[in-house]
Amino acid sequence: MTPPLLARELRKDYPMNGETVHALRGVSLRVDAGDYVAIVGPSGSGKSTLLQLLGGLDTPSSGSVEVLGTPLDTLSDAELTRLRLTRLGFIFQRFHLLPVLTARENVELPMAEAGVARAERRSRARELLAYVGLGHRADHRATQLSGGEMQRVAIARALANRPAVLLADEPTGELDAATGHEILELFRRLNGDGTTLAVVTHDDRLAAEAGRIIHMLDGTIRD
């Protein structure tokens, strides 16, 4: 069966002050459908770089990434954008919600971009907000929500186009312990409902929920 994510010998080098920084040094990874993978490691170990390459947000210096069997380096910019929109969901540490839109409109936005009809996307947005426990806050603007609520809206938004994999980068990094726990519970429920997750985190509790933990150090995986 074709895995949602497959990375082979990823290398990423950055020029910096006349020298080359080797952020990734030949990382290979396979994420199967239904997996819950936590990527952990100290700062500068390359975990966020790995997540960006897996999500097609950046291109490797060498190696390849396949999403549902499609090599990303064979896609044009427009095709890659379309793939990110419809096959991958992203959750960021700082939520990146549009403050002038309501929670529902934020969730609708990726569906509107994907061409989903207005009635359908409105219905699904309310459904997703109810799923993350924010059905009663659908018509509040993002600025009127708490940090935990904003992250739950961001999770609902990431799920909007039914992605094959949900990629999360430090999803509890901006939240207090209690609120972070709510997100942890939500992720557990998501995975239990069949959502494939790849999460970069420093949060031991969140990592402990994952079915597989990948430790990174100096741009390599240390299992």
Binding site: P99, V100, L101, E105, E108, L109, A112, E113
Partner: protein, 493 residues
């Protein structure tokens, strides 16, 4: 969804939206203005009525435009002598009425010095300009004054579009000499062709040390009427009338002149002549109306050097005259006979000239040149005006050509008091200018000789009448005409 996002941004961030809106409006406004200017320029460049339009810069002869711009001495002391003629005839006259809609004369950057009316003069240099308000407005370049008004004065109107009265007064006005000079003379000259063998020369002359300054108060001067009648039988009659200075009335703004009872009065382009004089044949009485034909005039020209001055204008290169001429009580009615009128002024001591005025079926012709006072017997003169030949038709001056010499040929016994005076039997000249050239030949039928000068300056002054032919090309067009004319020259005795 994107529209929702855009409008929501505007609604939620009202102050920022307002600021951006005004900034955007300002940008759009500036762009609209720039596009409008560009569009206007584009429209102007395509406007058929403006094709061929533009500025003509006229400079005094010998003055460089850069010298004028940078405030050279030329900007202070030189002027355009015939700027009015350029405006009215050369550019804005009837010849170009089909292609020139309006002429807006303007002077720019003229260097002037200002002095206070009170106290010692501490000159302040200024740059000044001027234009005619109505003409500038006709070009779309009129001033939008915030206070007061900007309209033509009567002087402005007289400059660009004078009435007939103003035009001929301006052309034919009298002059005051800069210094009292006993050889100063200024006169109205008319000639009339009463028949194939009969013509009249009529001269109203003011002469002597005319001066309005206190230094010249004691100078002797006065007026003289001089009439020469060439009778059909070939005999010449002369009539004169002298008047003292007190009986002379002249006007530096008008053509009118009174020498006692003998008068010239110009009214709406018609010269009313009244003359009473005596001669061997008895008393002469002339009452004539001389009417110059429209556009057949030649503008004033002056030749100056030190105290020498010679001025000349032809208000009536072709004219018609009617009235009565009575000699010893025998009167003759003249009806619309061909006539000519010019006006001369200057110092005339030892001055001679070449001159001719002729009239063909279509064209009028004028040629001439002045020799200054130091011209010797050899014919070389220290001061000479350029020889010119002007061709004029019903629309005004067609061209002013230059020529270097007149080739006189043959000999013909002249009449008059000078014994054994021999006038030329004929002559020719070739006028050229750029690609234009016109050849002129004349055969002298009659000549009248007058002895002039004393000592080394002894000359015969010949007044001749004869037939002419001209042929040539002007602006690529062939011109040809023939007719009769009056000619003058001086030859050594």
């Amino acid at each position: 969804m994107l529209l929702t996002l855009a409008f929501r941004h505007l609604w939620v961030r009202k102050l920022r939206s307002l600021f951006l809106f005004f900034g955007f409006s300002l940008g759009v406004g500036v762009m609209v203005v720039l596009l409008s200017v560009g569009e206007a320029m584009l429209e102007q460049s395509r406007d058929a009525s403006l094709v061929g339009g533009g500025e003509i810069t006229v400079l005094p002869q010998g003055i460089d435009i850069e010298a004028m711009r940078t405030g050279g001495l030329g900007g202070m002391f030189f002027g355009i002598d015939r700027a009015r003629y350029l405006t009215r005839q050369a550019i804005g006259g009837p010849r170009h009425a089909g292609i020139v809609r309006t002429v807006a004369p303007a002077i720019e950057g003229k260097l002037l010095y200002l002095c206070s009316l009170s106290g010692p003069c501490r000159p302040t240099p200024v740059r000044a300009g001027g234009e005619i308000p109505s003409r500038a407005a006709a070009l779309g370049a009129g001033l939008d004054v915030r206070q007061g008004s900007w309209h033509d004065t009567s002087a402005d109107s007289a400059y660009v579009a004078p009435t007939t009265q103003q035009l001929y007064d301006e052309l034919d006005r009298f002059h005051i000499p800069r210094v009292a000079d006993s050889s100063w003379g200024e006169w109205h000259y008319f000639n009339l062709t009463a028949g194939p063998e009969e013509w009249w020369y009529v001269t109203y002359l003011v002469g002597g040390g005319l001066s309005l300054s206190p230094a010249g108060a004691g100078s002797r001067w006065g007026g003289r009427l001089l009439v020469t009648h060439r009778r059909p039988d070939g005999r010449y009659e002369r009539f004169t009338a002298d008047v003292p200075a007190a009986a002379v009335r002249l006007d530096t703004t008008r053509a009118d002149l009174a020498l006692g009872p003998n008068t010239v009065r110009q009214r709406d382009g018609v010269y009313h002549l009244h003359a009473v004089a005596t001669g061997p044949a008895g008393e002469l009485r002339l009452d004539l109306d001389v009417r110059p034909l429209r556009n057949r005039y030649f503008p004033p020209v002056e030749l100056r050097e030190d105290d020498f001055l010679s001025g000349y204008v032809v208000p009536g290169l072709a004219a018609s005259a009617r009235g009565t001429a009575c000699v010893a009580g025998h009167c003759r009615r003249l009806v619309d006979v061909p006539a000519y009128h010019d006006h001369n002024w200057g110092v005339w001591r030892d001055v001679t000239w070449e001159w001719g005025a002729a009239r063909g079926s279509e064209l009028s012709l004028l040629y001439g040149g002045v020799y200054g006072p130091e011209r010797g017997v050899s014919g070389a003169g220290a001061v000479t005006s350029p020889f010119f030949m002007a061709l004029v038709d019903s629309l005004g001056i067609m061209q002013v050509l230059r020529f270097s010499r007149i080739a006189y040929t043959g000999g013909k016994a002249a009449e008059g008091g000078a014994a054994a005076a021999v006038a030329p039997a004929g002559f020719s000249l070739l006028g050229t200018r750029g690609g234009d050239s016109v050849g002129f030949t004349a055969e002298v039928d009659h000549a009248l000789a007058t002895e002039t000068g004393a000592g080394s300056f002894r000359r015969h002054f010949f007044q001749m009448r004869g037939r002419f032919r001209l042929h040539g090309r002007l602006a690529g067009t062939e011109v040809s005409d023939s007719g009769q004319g009056f000619f003058e020259t001086y030859l050594p005795r």
